[in-house]
Amino acid sequence: MKLTFGPEVEAFRQEFLAWLAENRPTAEEMAEAPAVSSAHVPGWASRWTRRMFDAGWLVPGWPPERGGRNAGPIETLVYLEELTKAGIPRTTNPQGLGIVAPSILDYGSDEQIRDYAMPILHGEKAACLGMSEPGAGSDLAGLSTRAVLDGDRFVINGQKVWTSGANYADFCFLFCRTDPEAPKHKGISVVLLDMSTPGVTVRPLAEIVKPEHPDLNEVFLTDVIVPKENLVGQMNNGWAMANGSLAHERGMVWLNSVMQLEKNTDLVLGKAPEALAQLAPAERAIVADGLVQSIIDATAARTLGYRGFAKLVRGGSAPEQALMKVFTSEAARRLTLRAAEMGRDTTGDIGANAASDPTWIELYFTTYGATISAGSSEIQRNIIAEKVLGLPRS
């Protein structure tokens, strides 16, 4: 065990920091046109993606022709650390860069790579991920959106929901049922759907915080025609891709969660002395204890994440990684509620201020995104119990 990585890794960090200083998007351009949805790519973000791609910094672990420099996992970790510390988003289309592009590169045809994956990597297209349905949330395999092969085209009917960024995305990585007779995991395929295709209707779902900037959507699909060549990989092989997608997503998502948790913890700590000074001693002791537990959570999240990561780097398995989502998302929820309750004026906590900085209670609501989406905390605990701990299925 060591507190720092070796000198080669630190040299890599310095190389990236030097490049970042020269090439980063400015705070002004980011503030002027903030991304308002997870598939919204403002001009600066598009140019930033392209600059990173050309310099091999977009996906450092990949080969140069795909936006990388064949960096190892430790270097990739350092790169993500420094981007987050600098407050610069790596992408404003995280599902496109993190899940859709790599899945197409893994499974797609040369044409699909050229027309869909590379444009994401060049900052020219944004993608959304069509997975959840009204009847298939945590149980994704139960999806019923139907794609019927009709000659050289699919005819698609159904409905997706909770589709992040569908209101801005250029195309959708769409999971559909192609064999209704097969067992439910075995009849699913993925097609690439241009969002401008007739029959696609997107209805944004305003959320309880920032309703003016919806990110989640319902997507209605009525007799939508998609050419057969938009099938990704093999027919009825979608479930493998779904698992692959989530593996791409979970690869280093823990680091971002940890760093966001640390950032918010620091923010709360920065404001705490002033807030605590307004409290009576007994209140202060109680509030301080809650904040201390959040700081311990943040440090534990980092140490647990890095321990699992170090095991993976050594080529072993890292069961700890399965804990990271449930731990960091619930720690964020605890932190934001504690922050909301740390001042004297508790009516301030229930004030809404959506126009500018969100209030703590608004942030508290947003943390539920992480405890519900991509496998709710309840599902995560089942996965830990069954896959990691080996408990029998119910």
Binding site: A285, V287, L291, V292, R302, N382, V388, L391, S394
Partner: protein
């Protein structure tokens, strides 16, 4: 930050585990509980394998390794609820000697003896339930032959096995971190009253100092010399993290045994571990153990590399270990059902070790309050608020 064990660290851990499985199976712990244990032979094995020498500098006859190795051993001791003077000697006495004594021959000589396995020791620091040096009230008065110690020390670990006791006392009429001193007293000359404790593998005693005179050549740090409070803090961090690690080790085995039980115990025609209510609790137990273990390793590493975060990291590790044991004792016992309440089941050794590990050197509540002070969330004294 590389928080996974290196090959050498893993090898040490595996060796320690294998040795302890052999010399300290549950039957041996049970014998200690029933007053029949052969503790000296367990210690002899540790000495034979140079465990006391692990973190002592090579120039003092040690192996020159770091506190990480010591913490790994402490974790393993918790896993098997091992008795013996390792925790008191290696994680309390030796660090205090090193931090307080520096290059003094008195300190280095004793360290060499510890490294060689010829000497055991303990630290008499706590009073009235606190291990904070600033709270020490025992006094050291100048005396024609040295210093006379007065006062009562609590919860001295393993004094029955200790050749030497390092006593912390202060010059009369001083307070806080001022006027503190450290003295060496032969264990045999002190009057110790054993406490009845739930975990007899961590025996505690109260010591009435009663005017014992320490000659000047046995003064490790004269009262009021500079840096004593800081040295005691640093040594206390090692003791604290070692106890956190031993607590986390005990908790991990509680978890492993409860998990195994949930897989084999059947009710309503199926293993109780197939019920979701239990699955979620076991997932939370697993998380609590990993959370505490990760913080223990991090804290051990900050001590090994003398990182400025070591004070906070040690408090976090001990707080997390305490929180972990609260959950693991509760759900470990609950999920075992009635069998866990029986003396003949081995589970209670682990439960009691976990509870004791939390209580010694400040429990979770205490370390969280210390963190609140370190982070400036509350002031050290609440008198101003009264």
């Amino acid at each position: 930050m590389d928080l996974e064990l290196s090959e050498a660290e893993s090898e040490l851990r595996d060796n320690v585990r294998a040795v302890l499985a052999n010399v300290c199976p549950p039957a041996v712990v049970r014998a200690v509980y029933e007053g029949k244990g052969d503790v000296p032979s367990i210690w002899a094995k540790m000495v034979e394998l140079y465990w006391p020498a692990l973190a002592i500098a090579e120039e003092h006859g040690g192996l020159g390794q770091t506190f990480v190795e010591v913490a790994l051993v402490a974790e393993e001791l918790g896993r098997v609820v091992a008795p013996g003077p390792f925790l008191a000697t290696v994680t309390q006495f030796a660090p205090a000697l090193r931090e307080l004594g520096g290059d003094q021959p008195l300190a280095t000589g004793l360290l060499s003896q510890v490294a060689a396995g010829e000497l055991t020791g303990t630290v008499a620091l706590a009073e009235r339930g606190t291990w904070e040096p600033a709270e020490v009230q025992a006094t050291a008065e100048e005396h024609p032959e040295g210093w006379a110690l007065h006062g009562t020390k609590n919860a001295v670990l393993d004094i029955g096995e200790a050749d030497e006791v390092l006593v912390v006392a202060r010059r009369p009429a001083t307070t806080g971190t001022h006027g503190l001193g450290a003295f060496l007293v032969a264990g045999s000359t002190l009057t110790a009253t054993s406490r009845t404790v739930i975990d007899p593998t961590l025996p505690l005693a109260d010591v009435v100092l009663d005017g014992v005179v320490v000659p000047t050549d046995r003064v490790l740090a004269a009262p009021g010399s500079p840096g004593i409070a800081a040295a005691l803090d640093r040594a206390g961090q090692e003791a604290t993290v070692a106890l956190a690690a031993t607590t986390a080790g005990a908790c991990r085995v509680i978890f492993e045994q409860t998990l195994e039980y949930a897989k084999v115990r059947e009710q309503y025609g199926r293993p109780i571990g197939s019920f979701q209510a239990l699955k979620h609790r076991l997932a939370d137990m697993y998380l609590a153990v990993e959370r505490a273990t990760s913080l223990c390793y991090f804290a051990a590493l900050t001590i090994a590399e003398d990182d400025p975060r070591r004070g906070q990291a040690a408090a976090m590790a001990k707080a997390a270990a305490g929180e972990c044991q609260a959950l693991l004792v509760q759900d470990g016992l609950q999920l075992h059902g009635g069998i866990g309440l029986t003396w003949e089941n081995d589970l209670h050794f682990l439960l009691k070790r976990a509870l004791s590990g939390n209580a010694l050197y400040g429990n979770a509540v205490h370390h969280r309050s210390r963190l609140a002070q370190m982070l400036g969330l509350i002031s050290e004294s609440t008198e101003e608020d009264a």
